[in-house]
């Protein structure tokens, strides 16, 4: 069989140039054919001719494949344009931003004390882009831990940037509220990823998020005097009560389901009536 495969391959490879790469491919194909023949034999085929035919057929249009292979050797491999474009784009963007920053600052359009936010904004945008890429990669490889941690870090960075922008431009009274909003925002982002990835921790995470959000809201409304501290404290208290109630309902329904499943299992196995019991020994 091996000799027949060799003869076939020798004839086939005569149609292309005798390059080193072709020699390697010929050897590789011979191994592939021998392994295919081995598999057919183990599966029970004994007719050598039939095995040979099946193995050769498994190569498909081999002549066309060889021509394609030979052509690929003569063509100069295309450079990885995508990576080159990304790199060039990144360098261009950095150059534009630096130039813009210098022009705006030197011309006095923006004070030096504010204009530095422009390059910082560009860095934040780059981190957000990296975060998106990491998340997409996480979805592909089914590994989310790094992506989730990075995502939380990104949210924090974005909020710090937002704080700086607001602080240096508008000077509002309660600009630090942004840090209180940061916690629920990071939570909701993570919960969203948890939902998409069907993480088991999503439900408990929602409870924690609800509690934290209500506390943050209570503090913000209290400080801004929109809501009095008393009975405003009822907001987190009621949230806690609601969470406890929901957890209780979930536990009860889970317990009922488990009981039902157990009963179904028993019905289908041990409690099943077998008429043969009376007669069969």
């Amino acid at each position: 069989m091996k000799e027949r495969f060799k003869s076939y391959l020798e004839a086939a490879f005569r149609k292309i140039r005798p390059t080193k790469a072709a020699m390697e491919l010929r050897l590789e194909t011979l191994t592939k054919l021998e392994e295919a023949a081995q598999d057919y034999r183990i599966k029970g085929m004994t007719d050598d001719e039939a095995i040979y035919r099946l193995c050769i057929d498994s190569l498909g249009d081999f002549d066309a494949k060889l021509q394609e292979f030979d052509r690929s050797l003569t063509e100069v491999p295309k450079k990885n344009n995508q990576k080159r474009y990304i790199a060039m784009g990144a360098i261009g963007a950095v150059a534009v931003i630096v130039a813009l920053y210098l022009v705006l600052s030197i011309t006095g359009a923006f004070a030096w004390s504010v204009s530095w936010l422009l390059p910082l904004g560009a860095i934040v945008a780059a981190v957000v882009a990296a975060d998106v890429v990491l998340l997409l990669k996480g979805f592909k490889s089914d590994k989310f831990l790094v992506a989730r941690l990075f995502n939380v870090a990104t949210v924090i960075l974005v909020f710090v940037f937002m704080y700086l922008c607001i602080r240096l431009s508008v000077h509002p009274r309660f600009d630090w509220y942004i840090f209180l909003c940061m916690v629920p925002a990071a939570g909701i982002m993570d919960i969203a990823i948890g939902f998409v990835t069907k993480s088991k921790l999503t439900v408990p995470e929602i409870f924690v998020w609800a509690m934290l959000t209500s506390v943050m809201l209570y503090v913000m409304l209290g400080v801004a005097a929109v809501m009095p501290w008393h009975p405003g404290w009822l907001l987190p208290a009621l949230t806690a009560i609601c969470i406890v109630a929901v957890v209780a309902v979930l536990l009860i329904s889970h317990s009922k389901k488990a009981k039902k499943d157990k009963q179904l299992f028993l019905d289908s196995t041990k409690n099943q009536v077998d008429e043969e019991y009376y007669t069969k020994w």
Binding site: E35, R41, T46
Partner: protein, 436 residues
């Protein structure tokens, strides 16, 4: 006087880490047809031990870098000689080989010679941190050669005494291949296979046991002949029967993917093979994955072959993860690196190790020739288990060394029953081709 210190090599540390999964002992038992001359054996053992300091050293765990410390010893620490009868022989062998040598001990190997009815049984255990199955075979061969040389008046004892460093595995590789091999950081232990060998839960009364099952010469000869007809190795066939039997015994769903690591002797990558360097560990593993059990054993064999071919075609087989371990031990102090590796390392729940052929003509002791014997790896703690295979005198001895109770013993025996049933079924289904 300050004791001499020996550097703990990468594999010494790794095997020390494995104390969490098994008892770190490697075992061998050889049944001779005549008595062994204990006086000569003592001389050979002392000379050998003197030449290999790690064998008479104690291991010292340290936060920064662990080390071996060379210790004083006497032959009685190593060798025990006992006269026994046929009724108690096996129990005494079992008792001896299932003991564990503490790392703090002054010697790291122990030998017992059991004399019974005009024949001897040679039993040896050694700390896996000193060397693996590959060098254990080498050690036994050298022991025999040195014994025979001493018998004829040649007092020179020869045993390899070179480096124990892990990086000898790159000596056969050249140029770009060597560079690539040194960058194989992929963690191959991270194959999450949750299938386990059904054993009873761990209990304090569990004890070490080495369960054995033999494939007789007639069965083995047919098994091998069928393998030859298909162009597959005994290892491929045993792996097939093993995996097929696991699906049956463990009641795994037929479409589940099962992954089993097979131990690989990395000396294939070393210039000079088993004679090179010093006594140490050079074991890696290749993963064999099947996407479900075949309807027949032949179908399972095709699945196994498709998986193992990938490894067999890989010139870096077994070399993965070594650079990662090296990196961990280099950049962190030992205590941190051990924790880091423990987090990243997933010990396989089920494994297989084909120790290979024990050639009786290379293991003679004067006129005494081994008529039977086996080697096996460490005693695994639940839920881990490993099937070890030794071939000798055209017979295969299968061993499963575990820490368990009588119920576990029965379960293992039941599994051996299924395994042998499948071996015979495979032979019955394929023997017709041998007559063609």
């Amino acid at each position: 006087m300050k004791k001499q210190r020996i550097t703990a090599e990468l594999w010494d540390k790794m095997q020390y880490l494995f104390r969490n999964y098994y008892d770190r002992m490697v075992h061998a038992v050889l049944y001779y047809d005549k008595p062994i001359d204990v006086a000569i054996l003592k001389s050979v053992l002392v000379a050998t031990t003197e030449k290999v300091p790690v064998l008479h050293s104690s291991f010292h765990d340290s936060v920064i870098n662990p080390y071996w410390e060379v210790e004083e010893y006497s032959i009685s620490d190593i060798l025990t000689v006992k006269d026994t009868d046929s009724e108690h022989l096996e129990a005494e062998i079992e008792e001896f080989i299932t003991q564990s040598i503490p790392v703090e001990s002054n010697v790291q190997f122990k030998i017992a010679v059991f004399n019974e009815g005009g024949r001897s049984v040679f039993a040896m255990i050694v700390n896996h941190m000193c060397f693996d199955g590959g060098d254990f075979k080498y050690f036994l061969k050298r022991l025999s050669a040195n014994y025979n040389a001493m018998l004829t008046g040649d007092a020179a004892v020869e045993i390899k005494t070179g480096t124990r460093s892990y990086d000898q595995v790159y000596t056969k590789l050249e140029g770009e291949d060597k560079e690539v091999a040194k960058k194989l950081y992929k963690n191959i232990s991270q194959v999450k296979d949750t299938h386990y060998f059904p054993l009873t839960p761990s209990a304090p009364e569990d004890k070490s046991m080495i369960n054995r099952c033999k494939m007789d010469a007639e069965t083995f000869s047919l098994f091998r002949a069928i393998g030859k007809y298909y162009g597959v190795t005994i290892n491929d066939l045993m792996l097939t029967v093993y995996m097929h039997s696991l699906y049956e015994f463990g009641q795994y769903p037929a479409t589940d993917t099962l992954t089993i690591p097979c131990m690989v002797d990395l000396r294939r990558h070393i210039e000079g093979g088993e004679e090179a360097g010093g006594l140490t560990n050079h074991t890696g593993f290749m993963q064999c994955s099947v996407d479900g059990v075949g309807a027949t054993l032949n179908d399972t064999l095709v699945k196994v072959l498709r998986s193992v071919r990938k490894s067999k075609h890989d010139k870096f087989m077994g070399l993965y993860s070594l650079p990662l371990l090296k990196l961990a031990y280099t950049i962190f102090p030992y205590a941190i690196s051990e924790t880091a590796i423990k987090i990243g390392y997933l010990n396989p729940l089920i494994g297989m190790s084909n120790i290979g052929l024990l050639r009786p003509e290379l293991l003679t002791m004067g006129e005494a020739t081994p008529i039977d014997g086996f080697m096996t790896g460490a005693v695994k703690y639940k839920p881990y288990m490993q099937l070890a295979l030794t071939t000798m005198n055209n017979e295969i001895t299968m061993t499963i060394a575990i820490r368990g109770n009588n119920d576990d013993k029965l379960l293992v025996e039941k599994f051996f029953g299924i395994l042998m049933k499948n071996v015979k079924l495979f032979i019955a289904e394929n023997v017709k081709y041998l007559k063609v």
